[in-house]
Symmetry: C2
Subunit: 377 residues, 2 copies
């Protein structure tokens, strides 16, 4: 089957690019002497994660319990659920642990230690917990100067039902960096902060076996990870326009795209209308704040080669509007009504979330497989 026979919109993954992207990061991790704990939140698919785990120690990161259950059902045992824990999720987590999953939680408050410990005691478990650190002011976590770090550490070490397993941080601000140099600086801050906290904990007699850091930008540019035990990253498998705009990858590395049909011309306005609106591309406008605003996506031919200056300049629910940002006349005959193009998305995680499957290609327009993905919680 060929892409041209698919109903549109459809989500396409180029497996050769995924393998290349993953190999690149694996080589970096090898050089830095560190294990990669791939994040399953971008792909939400076991086939991709298996490639990412090849040669690694086997642990993954997830952003939802649905991911945890799904990956565990496919044989992955070692799972970090990297969102601060809420009480309503604990019965489901205890159920997974009882079945044999090794689920590690994160938290940054005394309240959370209390309810996790109570649930661990109820189920006769010692639930492994990492203290979430705030290395860059991005969102959650304990800061370096906060007495909470030791308070939580001591409580985790003392209470039954929980197990003090280490620290975790995520340099989420790296998505806002303006240069590769800024990313390098932030990667150092991320590493230094996590290692410093692990030292404080150990100096106070507390165990800290895991020192976990990561984001796709910092994973790409960290120069020294001494003292860190693992790196988490997810988007690097697919990449996207936000990552290309950051200088983390090239546009030609982007493995994910949306196949769409051309359903109209508004010639006076220079608009090509497609059936890939925001439902197909997501509402993500992550490049809006970058040097080059890619609208809601960059237009490629069906083979996947970017077409200069053609972007999705506007979207409705099931309509996309393509226009030329240099205001050149559209070559209408190249975009006949009923023909197809592919769109590189701003943000792989957000665009992926709109679909239940990937059509897999391998450098051509032939579909060699269909891989399913999970969504929801």
């Amino acid at each position: 089957m060929d892409l041209l026979t698919l109903e549109t919109p459809s989500l396409v993954l180029d497996i050769s690019k995924i393998k290349r992207n993953i190999t690149h990061i694996h080589k970096r991790m090898e050089k830095l002497g560190i294990n990669l704990r791939p994040h399953g939140k971008t792909a939400k698919n076991i086939d991709v994660i298996k490639i990412a785990l090849d040669g690694q120690a086997g642990g993954i990161t997830v952003s939802t319990l649905k991911e945890a259950e799904y990956y565990f059902s496919h044989g992955i045992i070692d799972i970090v659920y990297a969102v601060g824990i809420a009480p309503v999720k604990l019965d489901r987590i205890a159920g997974l642990i009882k079945k044999g999953a090794n689920i590690t939680l994160i938290l940054d408050s005394i309240e959370q230690v209390k309810f996790v410990a109570a649930k661990g005691q109820q189920y006769d478990l010692n639930i492994p917990v990492l203290i979430e650190l705030d290395c860059d002011g991005h969102r959650s976590g304990v800061t370096l100067d906060d007495s909470l770090l030791l308070d939580i550490g001591h409580m985790l070490n003392r209470e039954k039902g929980v197990m003090m397993s280490g620290v975790l941080t995520h340099a989420g601000e790296s998505y806002q960096c303006k240069s590769v140099e800024e990313i390098r600086v932030l990667a150092k801050i991320e590493r230094d902060m996590a290692v410093k906290c692990s030292e404080i904990l150990r100096q106070n007699g507390l165990p800290c076996p895991i020192v976990s850091v990561g984001s796709t930008p910092t994973a790409n540019f960290a120069e020294d990870l001494t003292g860190v035990t693992e790196v988490r990253a997810g988007v690097f498998m697919f990449y996207d326009l936000v990552m290309a705009g950051l200088g983390v990858c090239d546009k030609s590395d982007i493995a994910i795209s949306v196949l769409t049909s051309i359903i109209g011309h508004q010639k006076r306005k220079g608009w090509v209308i497609t059936d890939a609106g925001w439902m197909a591309l997501s509402r993500d406008r992550g490049t809006a704040s970058q040097k080059v605003d890619q609208g809601s996506g960059l237009v490629c031919n069906v083979e996947g080669d970017p077409l200069n200056d053609l972007i999705v300049s506007s979207t409705n629910q099931e309509h996309g509007i393509i226009s030329d940002r240099s205001k050149k006349e559209i070559a209408w005959e190249s975009f006949g009504i009923g023909s197809m193009v592919r769109i590189l998305p701003n943000h792989a995680c957000a665009t992926g979330a709109m679909y239940d499957r990937y059509y897999i290609t391998d450098g051509s327009t032939e579909i060699i497989d269909v891989w399913h993905r999970i969504n929801g919680w």
Copy 2:
């Protein structure tokens, strides 16, 4: 069961508000003497559409073929697929028509007439077609001064495999209006343009039984729909912050909300961290261009009452950051870690799309039912 027992994030629908919103539009349509053809793209659920169809002639509008198949499987025959048609969708449409569905397509080009007619002939069908009109420059459609209107009309009337069924327009620009008065003006433009086109077609000997207009804002404020045969609207069933910002509804009419757990405090920054990020709320920032920017959503207590000035000021994939836009100190004790709040979304269609089910309440926090929704294409 009570909302407080649900895992978060979860999507909540208040059925009493839905019924009130639908009754309000039904009364308007009655007064204007016109049939409502509810749009199934917001709810993507048969239970809601059944309420919306009560007392109406029975036809609906859809934005995807998956919606068409789903609603048809629940007994709805008369369906307008209101996205310009692409060739790769025609076999599936022909299959539905063969099973007994009355699917009407829309198009705005000669090329589309050709491939629809060819497919109709292949399947021995006369596929009903509406000519899409552009009343406001929003996206697709034929303009009033374009000879395409008659060219397409004559071709639809002449060719085998297709049936000339009328005209359709959508005043999508009404979402950008700055006042109710502007919406009233646009509703008149929408009606006038559609009726004028129907007259031109009839004056040229062409049939035009259907004159279809609609958008939730114009459906709410149209004052005269003489010559129109049906009004399409979807968001009015749920409403959302964009509609409230437009003055189309009150915040208290919004029937859809996201239940979320509080998973952290960043007290120095005045941030309450929740587990409803953009995956739970969508990336929609539709209020960003309105008078009052509601961030990624307006915070309510678990009962659903808006809390003054608390908005979701930032989102990551599975994290939301709530802050007070008036910079008042957060009443931390009211937002304890592990407690829950509800978020009114910017855009009901976009937020709904992130979920596979609705938890139904009826004015209290008791869950009285679970309704499933479809997604994808």
